[in-house]
């Protein structure tokens, strides 16, 4: 895992443009995680957990800004847009905590490798960002593990379930990406093959200017 991560890290950080793109990707991931934690805080009745989720969301927000600012310095646009999910409601408390714990633990390993690679590449400014976030990631991994132990009857089983769920999500992303490629290729072919229809349409459905006939009255259908 470490060797693979290190090799992938070296490959993906070999130029400032790639570092910038990676920083943008991390900014989006942190922003997505912030949204997950904010929604989790609003969905749990446990005050201690809700406050921990809120602190976690606050950290992720800072991380997203730090990554976005660095990406901007390196030439990216710094725009952060990410989706969040109602993961707590979807997974239930134990599996959600296991999932977050694993993500944070993985992030620590990954951040260490990236920090090392960036330092070797002489990009100490970017490396310092990862170094500064490690304490937060360690704290996140720690509280989620403690909380998991308190809410789950069998924490180890929950961790296994969460890992399986993560793998399933990764598989779905991969297949969705493949399907997107196939769809787009098919759509392009379809579009190009429809060119006679395009000329016919210009004749039968020309662009209309001015007020068009009012639509007939109709209720909801």
């Amino acid at each position: 895992m470490d060797l693979w991560t290190a090799a992938a890290s070296r490959l993906s950080l070999r130029s400032p443009a790639r570092v910038a793109a990676r920083m943008s990707a991390f900014a989006r991931a942190e922003r997505g995680s912030q949204l997950d934690m904010l929604l989790a805080a609003s969905q749990t009745q446990d005050l201690t957990l809700a406050s921990q989720f809120l602190r976690h969301a606050h950290d992720e927000s800072r991380h997203a800004r730090a990554f976005a600012n660095r990406a901007r310095e390196l030439g990216e646009d710094g725009w952060i847009h990410a989706d969040g999910g109602r993961l707590l409601r979807q997974l239930g408390p134990a599996k959600f905590l296991a999932f977050v714990h694993q993500g944070e633990a993985r992030a620590i390993q990954r951040f260490l490798v990236i920090q090392d690679t960036l330092t070797q590449n002489g990009d100490t400014r970017s490396a310092a960002i990862f170094g500064a976030l490690l304490d937060d990631e360690t704290r996140h991994a720690s509280y989620t593990r403690t909380a998991l132990d308190s809410v789950a009857e069998n924490p180890a089983a929950e961790l296994r379930n969460a890992r399986r769920w993560s793998l399933w999500q990764g598989y779905r992303r991969l297949t969705a990406s493949t399907a997107k490629g196939l769809h787009d290729a098919g759509a392009w072919l379809l579009y190009l093959s429809l060119f006679p229809l395009a000329f016919w349409l210009r004749w039968v459905r020309p662009v209309r200017s001015g007020w068009v006939e009012s639509a007939p009255e109709r209720g909801p259908q």
Partner: protein, 551 residues
């Protein structure tokens, strides 16, 4: 419900009475959430003690099949320019939009037969008229695009709405604004209000360009030259090389603004030119509509209706005696229009507090758990006024969150409007934003005319129009051209007492009022959002009902 493009929203009617309206972004925390408003619908139902199984009918704001037809039609009409965007457009259509009615049924867990489709511009028209105080009115709908149309003239009588005529794509004011927004380096469908704010800094020296691109006939209909736009070939940017050839190179996307930038004046002049042409064309539309209806009342809806400069222009120069624009005039408002027109009912809107509540009890427990300083205050109004009079900012949370994009007194950052330095601190530290964007003032009905031209009207409670300032007592909320997007409040509004107490303490009767959110975030809705905001802004205290919270 409305959704699938941007600003998804839900509105709830129970036994013929409107009881709630909420944008999905307030629940999902994704600004301008383009998904489906399932979270908003569930939150509104829960607030009324209802479950989805209690829902008799859901009315969706547009017709997904007509939408698909338009996408196919224009993709082919624009052959071969649509090649790049066609796969993405079809992915969205076939992957989600076409099945939106089924997705709503699935999301709520109710039979598909209870979901009904509507028409985009009819929903807009209904959202404008059926929420207005008028029994009879002319209705103007103007936005980017509905199923096939961009603009509509309508007439409302009782609970009935009839269409007088519509304009089809590509003749769309909204798409022209989207293109210029993209050229400004702002996000299309999100940054249009920034272009409007920028316009006050410029001179309309590109008016000839916009007169060429946007021509209007005597009957009010207009045509938009599609050459500078790229809504089909590059919808994320919205503009093409012809726009850059006419106006200059586009700004880098999401680049930071500075009033000292060498090209700042160019951007401001372009914005001013577009705004001026928009004012002229909307006035032409309003005049034509008046000639056809002879009504003294006008209701306006659609994304372009959120352009308060143009609305103020119609009010000042148009033939109508009264103009009404409800607070969520953009696509979110389609949800409200869909349900009101679907049921054939009216719901005159007197306030904007239609969203979810903030639970002060849970906020207290959670804030204590977070180690914040929490205090129950006996007289929250007096405490707020005293704090504001000391030249400090305050986060204010009361009752239900607002409907629409503006903070209208229930989720607000408040400060003295007289303190220009505090305004600058807010715009750089508390709520970072482009330096040309003004904050808005809030004033009681009784003090309105002392500070602003004219009198409070149907738009001022919802901040959907502008007024010129009469004096220089509110520099923190007066735009560079002397205008202000003022909110007027009456005795029933939450902030009325605060304004009165603030005046007693400080001798000033105008407050700065901006929505309670961080940069890029939707406005605060519930207690967890409020406390998250407080954690990110530790220097500003928050008042939730009678709960004074500081970090």
């Amino acid at each position: 419900m409305s959704g699938g493009y941007h600003d998804a929203a839900a509105a709830l009617v129970v036994d013929g009475v409107l009881v709630g309206a909420l944008q999905e972004e307030r629940i999902s925390r994704i600004k301008h959430d383009p998904g489906l408003p399932i979270g908003a619908a569930l939150a509104l139902l829960a607030q009324e003690g209802l479950s989805p199984q209690d829902v008799a009918s859901v009315f969706f704001h547009e017709d997904p099949y007509a939408h698909l037809e338009r996408v196919l039609l224009w993709s082919l009409r624009s052959f071969p320019k649509g090649l790049k965007a066609f796969p993405q457009a079809m992915r969205k259509q076939l992957g989600s939009d076409l099945w939106v009615l089924d997705s709503i049924a699935e999301g709520l867990g109710i039979p598909r037969g209870r979901i009904h489709k509507g028409e985009h511009h009819r929903s807009h028209a209904a959202s404008a008229f059926l929420c207005s105080p008028f029994e009879q009115a002319a209705i103007l709908t103007v936005d980017g695009v509905g199923e096939h149309h961009s603009t509509g003239l309508w007439q409302g009588q009782g609970a009935q709405i009839s269409c007088l005529g519509q304009l089809e794509l590509p003749h769309s004011l909204g798409l022209l604004w989207a293109g210029v927004t993209g050229w400004m380096g702002l996000a299309v469908n999100r940054g249009e209000h920034e272009v409007m704010g920028l316009a006050a800094h410029g001179q309309p020296r590109f008016s000839d360009v916009f007169e060429r691109w946007l021509t209007q006939s005597e009957d009010g209909s207009f045509e938009v030259d599609p050459a500078p736009l790229a809504w089909l070939s590059d919808p994320e940017r919205g503009f093409g090389p012809a726009m850059e050839a006419a106006l200059g190179p586009a700004r880098a996307f999401n680049a930071r603004w500075s009033l000292q930038d060498p090209d700042f004046q160019l951007r401001a002049d372009v914005a001013a030119s577009l705004q001026q042409r928009t004012n002229e064309v909307l006035l032409g539309l309003a005049t034509a509509l008046h000639e056809r209806t002879a009504s003294p009342n006008l209701c306006v809806a659609g994304g372009v209706a959120l352009n308060c400069r143009a609305i103020a222009h119609i009010q000042a120069h148009g033939p109508f005696e009264q103009v009404f624009v409800q607070p969520a005039a953009g696509d979110a408002g389609g949800a409200l229009g869909a349900v009101l027109s679907g049921l054939g009912i009216r719901a005159p809107m007197h306030h904007a507090a239609w969203g979810v509540c903030c639970d002060a009890g849970r906020a207290q427990d959670l804030a204590t758990e977070l180690g914040m300083k929490v205090e129950r205050v006996e007289d929250p109004v007096q405490r707020a006024a005293a704090h504001l009079a000391q030249g400090q900012a305050l986060a204010w949370v009361k009752g239900r969150c607002e409907w629409g994009p503006r903070g209208l007194g229930n989720r607000a950052i408040l400060a003295s409007a007289a303190d220009e330095a505090l305004g600058v601190r807010l715009s750089t530290q508390v709520k970072p934003r482009a330096p040309f964007r003004p904050f808005a003032p809030i004033v009681s009905n009784t003090s309105f005319s002392e500070h602003f031209e004219g009198r409070p009207d149907l738009c001022t409670p919802f901040m959907t129009t502008l007024r010129q300032s009469r004096n220089d007592l509110s520099p923190a909320t007066t735009h560079v051209d002397g205008s202000a997007r003022v909110q007027s409040v009456g005795p029933k509004d939450a902030l009325h007492e605060v304004l009165a107490a603030f005046e007693k303490e400080s001798g000033q009767s105008v407050l700065l009022n901006t929505s309670l959110n961080g940069p890029g975030d939707p406005a605060v809705a519930r207690e967890t959002d409020a406390l998250a905001w407080l954690m990110a802004h530790p220097g500003t205290p928050m008042l939730i009902d009678d709960l004074w919270i500081q970090t």
